[in-house]
């Protein structure tokens, strides 16, 4: 099953959905305070510990490859755009500086922070909680639902992809053999059925929603009951305070590449 949500009764899953959404946004603001990797690394480590505590470790391992790609791509690209004083290598108009490399590394770590926080959020938040939380924050329900659709459809697409791969393997398709171009071409027998089935499902989804009364001009009620607790308020205060401290540090010049 391709859902990240870990259904267990746990501190984070008991938080009000608005706390989880605001908490995610506020924590995502933290990595923006620094652009030096040495300052971002402890923040990243803290988020990793949070992920372990939240039971998101297994989910993180599934997407760990994405985090590595973020760092590699940042390290390769940013030195060409971010210039500093300490030149490490120069060739014609292009030069790679120590500051550029550090900045590239910092951006990679920052992206990985977002990835970890996103996975933690998905691990402790059902898609209904996300949709309901957005509604409480004033987003119209139909828009909240549409935003949640990505979470609904991703597991469905992934499941269909797995079935298609199995079906095509049974017809002799070997996705692991051949050079890069050959392997890309071999994915066509997987991509076409997945797209076809996915589009069919998406088409059916709109009809299904209609059949279940979605979009009726009736004030919507909620099966789930969310309560604001003291822990919600305290946690938000802690996160805001953390952000404030980090921003003050950033403004004071800590963790900023010269």
């Amino acid at each position: 099953m391709y859902s990240f949500y870990n259904d267990r009764d746990f501190f984070l899953t008991r938080l009000h959905p608005v706390t989880r959404i605001l908490g995610l946004c506020l924590l995502c603001a933290a990595p923006f305070t620094f652009n030096h990797p040495l300052y971002l690394l402890p923040l990243f480590a803290a988020f990793l510990l949070l992920a372990v505590w939240a039971g998101a470790w297994q989910n993180l391992l599934k997407v760990g490859w994405l985090g590595i790609i973020f760092v590699i791509m940042s390290l390769v690209l940013w030195p060409f755009f971010y210039h500093g004083a300490t030149v490490l290598y120069s060739a014609g108009p292009f030069s790679i500086t120590r500051e550029g490399v550090l900045f590239g590394l910092a951006i990679g770590i920052r992206l990985d922070c977002f990835l970890v926080l996103g996975i933690i959020f998905l691990t402790v938040t059902r898609l209904e909680d996300f949709t309901n939380g957005l509604t409480v924050l004033g987003v119209p329900y139909s828009l909240s639902f549409a935003l949640g659709l990505a979470f609904r459809l991703t597991p469905l697409f992934a499941e269909e992809a797995e079935r298609v791969v199995t079906a095509q393997k049974a017809r002799g398709l070997d996705l692991d053999k051949g050079n890069l171009l050959a392997r890309v071409r071999k994915h066509i027998p997987v991509i076409v059925p997945v797209l076809f089935l996915g589009l069919k499902k998406a088409d059916q989804l709109s009809i299904s929603l209609e059949s279940k009364g979605f979009g009726l001009n009736i004030p919507r009620t909620n099966y789930q009951h969310y309560r604001w607790r003291t822990t919600d308020v305290l946690l938000l205060i802690i996160i805001v305070t953390l952000d404030a401290v980090l921003f003050w540090c950033g403004l004071a010049g800590y963790g900023v590449l010269s």
């Binding site: 099953m1 859902s3 949500y5 259904d7 059902r126 898609l127 209904e128 609904r152 597991p155 469905l156 499941e159 269909e160 079935r163 298609v164 199995t166 079906a167 095509q168 393997k169 049974a170 017809r171 002799g172 398709l173 070997d174 066509i188 027998p189 997987v190 076409v192 059925p193 076809f196 089935l197 069919k200 499902k201 059916q204 989804l205 709109s206 009809i207 299904s208 209609e210 059949s211 279940k212 009364g213 979605f214 979009g215 009726l216 001009n217 009736i218 004030p219 919507r220 009620t221 909620n222 099966y223 789930q224 009951h225």
Partner: protein, 565 residues
Amino acid sequence: MAVVQTKKLCFKYKRQSQPALNGIDCSVEQGECVALIGHTGAGKSTFLQCLSGIIPKFYSGDLSGEIIVFDGMSDSKNAGVRTRIGHLFQDFEAQLFSSTVALEVAFPLENRGVPRSEMHDIVERSLGQVNLAEFHQRNPHELSGGQKQRVSIASILGMSPDLLLLDEPTTDLDPVGKRDVVQVLQVLKNEGKTILLVDQETDGLLDVDRICVFWQGQMIAEGRPREVLSNIELLAKAGVKPPELLELCARKGITPGGSSLADVHQTIREHGFTINQQKKEQIVAISTETANQLDPLLEVSHVSFAYSQAEPVLKDISLSFCPAEFVAILGANGSGKTTLVKQMNKLLQPSSGSVTFHGLDVSNQPQSTIGKKIGFVFQNPDHMIFSATVSDEIAFGPRNYGFSASEIEQSVKNALELVHLTGREKDDPFSLTKGDRQKVAVASVLACRPEIVILDEPTTGLDYPEQIKMMALLKTLVRSGHTVIFITHSVWLAAAYSSRIILMEKGRVIADGPPRKVLFDFETLARTSLEPTPIIRFAAQSGVPLLTVDELDRCLTNNMSGENT
């Protein structure tokens, strides 16, 4: 009071040349339970979609005629009508999108503004009605097909609609599940709900109020169930399988007093019919003679399997399969049937035990070797189809297995002939009917010249004539020396076509033998939530191991004439 009224209702989908509905006049009174039957493409689902307003909102085309539902059109502007209609689609999986079963049932209630305090009771009640009371927190997408179908039904029941439109509500359910749904519908009928129900299986329709027969977009007959279902010629034209007992009586030219087993027995006796023992012995002897005496080519030895840390899905299974066997695997939803067959061609590998093919361990052989010899046809042909033409689709497997160009051409030609699709080489497979797409899927496996062909529910979604064609095709393969292993929920198909039946329950094989032995062991069959067909029950009560209407028809003779009439 008429809840549904249509007058000269016509609808033609935008890109189709023929109308899907052609002048339907229909009236359904409050509290009626009406069944719609007919071949695939006859217009039954389209009719339901017109009633619920899905057509023309989501499907463009030419709609004409009159539709009145609860005295108002059922379009999106009329919320009052929309809230009174519950529509279950044929593709029930498309109606599931919540993260838990309880939330799935609650979703329509939330949309209707039902207070929370009432919602919990409604959810409990609806799940209880479909025997899913303990599945509240389960993710619907992790359930079996039959369980998913029950969740969809529960979400419709929870809406407490006055008009239920149910499009094949029991396709993926085992017989016990089907019986539960029938009971629920009976309760709803007693509460005054109006039900329109599309179903391919007529044995369960004897208690509805009325049956409407659709054929090529027209309603060609309607009437009481016994009237309609005894008209074998009408059902044959409409592409519907008649109820077995009524068919038997019709072949004998007699009309039973009722539709129950006891009624039919009595009618048969009253007309002087008895079993001709000599003919019975001949029939039974033929099936015994054809029992396979050859050495096994595929052996499953003490195989157990579990997905990661979960409870084992297969527990110590040992089976062997010989050439030219026609094997049906039956069992309740979740009994391990699909997991078992996937072990056979290395799509899954056993946690313990082994699978050997011609004496060689399958796990030590490359997928490309095994896949060529043991073909697998999946339940949904859309999981395989991707090419622009039928011939390219069929050639895909042989190309992967390294066939030469001339071998590919010949294999494709032979496969097309076997599935009766010669002349359709250039057709777009996506434009074919479900039945033809299924044939393309079978052909694409046959083109690789496998020795064994495994099919997972090959007749799901096919109407009666298409099911017969598919099974006849598989029979041809067996006659030409292939071993065919198919998973099915359909006891009548297994009885009519297979030479061997394997019953599974909770990961174990609980019976394995010829149909005349396995299907007459009612106690063991009941453990798999399957039920003998009405004709098998009749035969058992008559003390003869006969499996089909044909067999009984041949054996029942009239004492007075002394000949089979």
